[in-house]
């Protein structure tokens, strides 16, 4: 028997916020009744990039701690690399492993569920960046709390998302998350290897080219 659909009246842009507070029901519904919006997921990721930029260059001076924050030159490619690129790599790794481990999720569903799960972290992060302009050094601990809350909430959502999307039990979900991290690291390693190789090949051909140019 089909479960009664109490959520059908909810718009696709409102549903993710329902998931934040009812993750178990929400993610199950997302999987069973295809209640997801790729557009909304991508907007969330865009906000993540925005958070990366704001956190780098637009935190108020007394909350700048890292060298790159104090230097203040935002590099958008580095921001993309540390947010969306890592996300994409993790999604691909998760999809690869879970396909082998009898996971039920499709790549699109994993992408969307992952993006939804990142929402608390991004929200808290944006609030934190705004608050740095009002709060002072002595109150920094509250902002740390805020960040930690966002991070823990997102972690919990991520765990439930993996469980629901792939129809896993708890331990298996934990195992698959661990494997995902390993897979992502492996992919990063391969990327470094390939980029090194490509640059060497490039420099080889460039040298040959210059040599020929000089001789002619």
């Amino acid at each position: 028997m089909r479960r009664p659909d109490y959520y059908s009246h909810m718009g696709k842009f409102r549903y993710p916020f329902y998931i934040l507070i009812h993750p178990v029901d929400g993610f199950r519904e997302l999987k069973v009744n295809d209640k997801f919006s790729l557009l909304f997921a991508n907007i969330v990721l865009a906000f993540w990039v925005l958070l990366g930029v704001l956190d780098w260059g637009y935190v108020d001076f007394d909350f700048k701690v890292t060298y790159r924050q104090l230097k203040g030159e935002v590099n958008i490619f580095q921001v993309l690399l540390t947010t969306v690129a890592i996300f994409a790599v993790c999604i691909v790794a998760n999809w690869c492993f879970c396909t082998l481990m009898d996971g039920k999720g499709k790549a699109k569903e994993i992408w969307v569920a992952g993006a939804y799960a990142m929402m608390p972290y991004i929200l808290c992060g944006l609030i934190r960046v705004c608050l740095t302009h009002m709060m002072v050094e002595n109150e920094a601990v509250y902002l740390t709390y805020l960040n930690t809350i966002g991070l823990l909430w997102s972690t919990l959502l991520m765990f439930i998302a993996v469980m629901s999307i792939h129809d896993y039990s708890g331990p298996k979900a934990i195992l698959s998350i661990g494997l995902t991290v390993l897979g992502a690291l492996f992919m990063a390693f391969l990327a470094v290897l390939i980029s090194g190789l490509v640059s060497q090949i490039y420099s080889f051909f460039a040298t040959v080219y210059y040599e020929i140019q000089m001789r002619l």
Binding site: H9, F61, D62, L70
Partner: protein
């Protein structure tokens, strides 16, 4: 060497002239004179700075007309601004006036009518009553002489329960010496890692003073764990956890003793320069204090301080024998300039041994070049001195024009920006204060203070608006919540009836 792509041409006089002109220009632009002093910014990067101190002259024995110096070991400026130099190789002590003219030479010291050699003297101190306190390392004793060279007192190793026999760290090898206003003798004995010896005038041992700490690091923890399982023979060859002995010290006008440490692996924590109060506690404990050069790219720390000098205003000059540089700190222990260097030309050293200050000029004794080099503050250096004296005493407004001038000459001076910000803060120009604190990179907590004040003022000014705004917001949220929940309940009921049908 034949340059690539150079084609043969006929020689023409005009071209030759052009080449010669270019050559002359190139030689005149050769960067021999391009050498900048440096400082560290808040990230620990070395940044070029203006010269704070410049070399004035140097004197060797021949220039002074008293024959060449031979391996001098120590230099001391007495309270009456006379300069005492231990010319150990020539077995004499040279006394110079503050203008570096020879006043007297003490070359015969007598003890009970017998001639005493001062070849083994490595440290000298002259007390306010004109008595000379000399650390005779070769003979393991302290000599106290009057100004004519007759030795009044000899202090040898005292008897004490703390100084146990047979331990190598307790041999009495006086290397450096000073006496405070209460006539307590402080003596650094070579090999002693427990700190300086405190001795009374009668040669009684009063205790150790101000030893360095042994810091717990992961490597040491690992070593300590290994030691627990090691046999006695293995323990013999393992490294001991003993504090690093400090190499030299100086006493300031107020009786604080500044010590420097020769070598340490963990420079930031190990207190390379310490300012000790009479209890022997270090009062240079602020976290941002780093002394000496930063570790190089391999992470090795090379600074080896051999001597320290404090002037009447509390400015500290520490001499690094590894790089030949002099590190200049203000009276709060904040690095303000680095000058000097290693080399064979004027203003550099090959084996710097001692440093002291006479009338604002810095004297450095080189025991291999056998000369005394004199540094004098430049216009910029005297600005820095004056500005930070005012600033550290709390005269922020008075120091503002000085800081403006410093910033005009060296726009990288982060502490000067902090000073400017502080002055603006006192004036009530909070926007400018915030700007300067942000520009300085070192005044984060002051920036926060200004921000808090600005926030409080805004809150006070707009209190009614904020208060009623909050109330309005709460009412609005409540109303919207009510409306939404009613609409939701309606839809739920609708959905349920749909489903049932």
């Amino acid at each position: 060497m034949k340059p690539i792509g150079c084609k043969k041409r006929k020689k023409r006089p005009l071209q030759l002239a052009a080449v010669l002109t270019a050559l002359v220009w190139a030689v005149s632009m050769w960067p021999v004179t391009v050498k900048a002093d440096y400082r560290y910014d808040s990230f620990g990067n070395a940044i070029p700075s203006q010269y704070a101190y410049m070399v004035e002259t140097s004197y060797n024995g021949l220039q002074l007309g008293i024959g060449a110096f031979n391996a001098p070991t120590d230099l001391f400026v007495a309270p009456d601004d006379r300069i005492y130099m231990v010319d150990a190789g020539n077995d004499r002590i040279v006394i110079l006036t503050e203008e570096l003219e020879v006043e007297r030479i003490l070359d015969s010291f007598t003890l009970d009518g017998q001639q005493v050699s001062v070849k083994g003297i490595t440290g000298i101190f002259v007390h306010t009553d004109g008595k000379l306190y000399m650390a005779d390392k070769d003979n393991g004793r302290i000599l106290v002489a009057d100004e004519n060279g007759s030795i009044e007192k000899v202090i040898t190793r005292p008897e004490s329960n703390i100084l146990t026999d047979g331990s190598t760290t307790n041999t009495f090898l006086p290397a450096k010496i000073l006496v405070d206003s209460r006539d307590t003798i402080y003596m650094i004995s070579e090999n002693s890692t427990q700190g300086a010896y405190m001795l009374s005038m009668d040669g009684e041992f009063l205790g150790y003073y101000g030893r360095n700490k042994v810091l717990l690091t992961w490597e040491r923890l690992y070593e300590a764990t290994l030691r627990r399982f090691a046999s006695d023979e293995q323990r013999e060859i393992m490294e001991n956890f003993i504090p690093i002995a400090f190499s030299n010290f100086d006493i300031d006008r107020d009786g604080f003793i500044y010590t420097v440490t020769g070598y340490s692996e963990h420079p930031e924590q190990d207190e390379m320069i310490k300012k000790l109060n009479p209890l022997g506690n270090n009062i240079y404990t602020d976290g941002w204090m780093t002394f000496g050069d930063m570790p190089n790219k391999n992470g090795t720390f090379n600074t080896v301080f051999t001597d320290v000098a404090v002037d009447d205003y509390g400015f500290v000059f520490a001499l690094d024998s590894y790089s030949g540089r002099i590190f200049f700190y203000d009276n709060m222990g904040c690095q303000q300039a680095i000058f000097g260097g290693r080399g064979n030309y004027l203003g550099t050293f090959t084996s710097p041994a001692a440093i002291d200050i006479v009338k604002g000029r810095v004297l450095v004794l080189d025991s291999a070049k056998n000369n005394i080099t004199v540094f004098a503050p430049t216009y910029f250096g005297s600005l820095v001195r004056e500005a930070f004296l005012l600033f550290n005493d709390g005269f922020y407004l008075e120091s503002k024009t000085l800081f403006e001038e410093i910033v005009r000459m060296d726009s990288n001076y982060d502490w000067a920006y902090a000073g400017l910000g502080r002055a603006c803060y006192e004036e009530g120009d909070w926007e400018m204060a915030k700007y300067y604190f942000e520009r300085s990179d070192v005044a984060t907590s002051w920036y926060s203070e200004v921000k808090e004040d600005m926030r409080n003022q805004k809150m006070k000014e707009n209190f009614t608006a904020i208060f009623f705004g909050f109330i309005a917001l709460f009412i609005m949220i409540a109303v919207i919540g009510k409306l939404c929940s009613a609409a939701l309940a309606e839809r739920h009921r609708h959905a349920a009836t749909e489903d049932a049908r």
